[in-house]
Amino acid sequence: MCISTAVAAADTEVSAETTSTTASASEVQAPGHSSVPAPAFAATPTLEHRTDFSSQNMAFELRFGPYTPRENDRLVQPEAGSGQESFFGDKTRYQLGLEIDGQLWRAPHVGTLGVGLGWSYTRRSALNKPLPGSSSPVFDTPIGQKSTLNIMPMYAVGVLRVDVLAKELRVPLVGYGKFGLGYALWWVNNGLGTAHYTDENGKRIVGRDASVGSQAALGAMFLLDWLEPSAGTELDTAMGINNSYIFFEYSVSNFGGDQMNVGSKNWVTGLAVEM
């Protein structure tokens, strides 16, 4: 306080002859005030002030989440009350996937509209089972052979990402929806090779196929740049990454009809970047 007063007193004489753009003469002359400029701290960059965005044309997602194919619900589930487990049991299996979007059009004050291509992979395994009613003494020896259902879901979807909140209102959330065509390759290994059975017409059916259906998702993305704006600026400068997100999505795929329904309803989370 004493120093401030002294400085203020010293400056009073100077300020009487100069015009300050920051303080009026009466303010300067007021006790405790100074015409000395405040130290210049850099202003924290904020989203609304960022004008250094590089062009944004695409998004990339690294995806992870549980995956429970619907087939298990309908065809291989034991009868209610039988006390038996489903073939693959109740253990949660996971998928790992990628998605790349082309953001083809920016709707003013809404967001981006584009198309996306996705790929993921999941598998589930379980021990093969004794034949129904079998009581062979060989079953004194435990079974060590597994069936594995491999699923490679893919999709082509239209993607609407509503980023008006983040762009214009500084709320770091982006909502999005996806809808389009789903396609999944699947194959079954029975422990010896690709599984197969012979149908009632004597035709050998091999356990691999592709299923086609629909794919939809609704999700929200949290803009990580909001946590560390300077890092976001550096990423854009160095790598052209405009925004990075963590996202949560509810995804639904359905492959009904005369095909194995390896679609799923599940949560997916992951990291996304827009470039």
Binding site: L104, N128, S147, V212, G213, S214, Q259, M260
Partner: protein, 399 residues
Amino acid sequence: MRVVTNGFTLSGEGQRWRRTLLLATVAVASVWSWSASAQAQTITLGRIGRYSPTASDQDPDHYKYRATRPWWISYADCINNDVFVFPIQLSDASHRLEVWAGNDDCVANRGKTSDRGQCWIVGSAEHLERSITVEVPVRNVVLRDLSNTTIPSDLGSEVCEGSTDSDGNKVTFYFLIEDSGKAVGTGTTWTGGTQGTGFDLVGPPPPSSISIKMGEGQLSLSIGGLTDDTELKSLEAFCVPEGEGIDPGTDVVPAEETDAGTSADGGSEFIPSTTGAAPSACYTPLLVAGKQPPIGYACGKVNKSSGTIQTNTLLDDTTYAVGVAGEDVIGNPGLLSGIQCGTPHELDDFFEVYGRNGGRGGGGFCSASPGASRSSAAAAVLLGMVLAALRVRRTRSRA
């Protein structure tokens, strides 16, 4: 007549002395010259190779070299009596060359009549040209005869048997010049490059326990009790149908019922029998614990880090005697583990259960799936509309 040479005056007597002196000088110079030449004798090894006499193609360039320890001698190499080929360039062409093997100072030891340390002679060449090729059969190396100074010849396959050291013997080859029974110079050596050379004819020890689980057309073997053997590379299972190889006239099936117990994971676990024979439930004389496995009955192989062997396809409802042996990094098979019984049996796999319950689909990735849901068609149409709209929009904006 007086002859003045270099200030000396020689009489007739002196001339005789002069001739004698000249002759002696020439003789000494010749000996010195030869000696100097011998001391300066250099031996340069060319590109070393090997071949197998049993192979149709004996070109060393076409020999199938192992990626690991290509210059080591394995049991199979010894049985095949592979031959090392050493192309050699000599700076002088008039000496005998000997090839010694050992892991000692063979330059110092070779001249000794006894106690030559760990050095033994494995090959030689006489009447040398400047460019020669010396061939050394690997059995000469494996024989490791420390008492003999003559070159072994035409050794039989019996030298490959009886080795017990699974770590093997690393050796250095010495190429030494000799003249009239005396060593000349220090020769040169070859150590087999970065991975060395030597001989190792014994495979790794077997796992101390195996546990069998059954499958359809297959058995699953869990391996336990492996020693921490750095030489171990892989594990191989051997499956012999019950009764295979039994001579009704001489073989007697052991009386005990079984050697099997139950392992912690539920599989059948081996409890060693005193004889090593297969249990009576799956007896075959072809599989005996602690003996060499029958190569023709190999039924599955895995890397040593894998604790489980899934066998190749076996016959359902046939009882097999099963044993496991290790294999080391140069392909030596180890001895068999304890023998276990296992019987593959038909099982239901997922796709069979799925099909039996009315599941659809299958037949191959390219098979038609006519029953795809209506939602997929709607999705396809909608996606097409989005793409078309975006294209129109982009075209207009460019215009």
